[in-house]
Symmetry: C2
Subunit: 256 residues, 2 copies
Amino acid sequence: MRITIIGAGNVATHMAAAFKNAGHRIVQVYSPTMQNAALLAYHVGAEAIDNLAGINPETDLFLIAVKDDAIMDVAKQLAPYNKLVVHTSGATSISALEIFTGNCGVFYPLQTFSKIRELNFLNVPLCVEGADDDITNHLQHLAQTISNKVYRVNSDQRKILHLAAVFACNFPNYLYHVAEQLLNKNHLDFNIIRPLIDETAQKVQQASPAKVQTGPAVRGDEKTMQAHLELLDNDADLQAVYRMLSQAIIKMDKSE
Amino acid sequence: MRITIIGAGNVATHMAAAFKNAGHRIVQVYSPTMQNAALLAYHVGAEAIDNLAGINPETDLFLIAVKDDAIMDVAKQLAPYNKLVVHTSGATSISALEIFTGNCGVFYPLQTFSKIRELNFLNVPLCVEGADDDITNHLQHLAQTISNKVYRVNSDQRKILHLAAVFACNFPNYLYHVAEQLLNKNHLDFNIIRPLIDETAQKVQQASPAKVQTGPAVRGDEKTMQAHLELLDNDADLQAVYRMLSQAIIKMDKSE
């Protein structure tokens, strides 16, 4: 398939590479910053453009991987070409592409991407939605050329997935940061705790999190929680986080 | 070395197996519940006892792996044997064993253990402390027979490690649980999000968490945060957690 990539950020970079590796042809890469467009285009053997007026109409799919706020504006400029268009946003409804009157869909990769980190796209869950069943089937087949984990997910479900991802990824990463700061302030190496972070994530790859919850809150160990709050007594914000999450764990339903 | 295990919980089970695998001899396993003592004793070729009056004095080390509150009580009953004694608690000072007048230490494994899950103890960070340098050296050598990641950590530092572990393990696991609940309520499979949990933990195995923070809060994406809060509008507790952690991420220092 001939694919045009709109955007050159983390998602655009990983998806363009995945399509290229799967044997598709990347026609062009667009970014308003030519340097970014050129870097990605070079890697995937495409032409770089920094102006949508330079779009090559000889393509089968426009993949829009830009900031959520910019999707509709970009879509407007692509509408005249009458091609299939998908966006990659978890938080954005398929209706953002309604200007394409049905020839559109969503390709949402549920993963945290960094340009510096390689990952095997075959293991990235890819959530697809099409404006109708034919398009959904078409996108599902296309998705299966780059990922072994393709799910059909509608716009309402995708918003929930995006929210759940904040709880499963963004918030835990912040808590890792808190742990690192506590260690650094006390001349301890973050390496000591890295295996614990790894094992905590590994445990829930099979088990349900509620079944493997550990720590003072789930044991109702008030003495240890009190001692922890005292260790945090120079940081009211962290104390508040500690209290709120501990209370939530105390109240959680362990049967699930 | 001849080792007597006091306790038959998760930590006792994993450490007894690690010592046995490293060629040490487990003399006895004590638990107030004979069934628990017998199960672990069977696995490590030891005698099971459910009464400390039945302690065999022909041992070199008592390893106390019981609940924090029970350590001092157990220690009192072991004092007459004049052997080296260690506890395994992150939250408890070495001074809980002062009754041994110097012949004591701490062996704190910084990991989350479940009986149902096998793990390679060689990768478990083991934090050792002795009452004096000789004992610390002795414990360090012993620790190195079962782990490749041995750290010398004093009681004050160990308390910080234990606190940091709550942020790095217990709280993230709770947030995984929130994600699972959100998905289940919307007929989505938790499997969709498991690769994200894995990758989030893998990313910080090399990088510093502040450098790889992603999501709406770190982008200052108010529109998405508002949409997420609306999705949570039937759960004031979760809204409060979302607000507090998002605010903390907005305020975090990304330079670290």
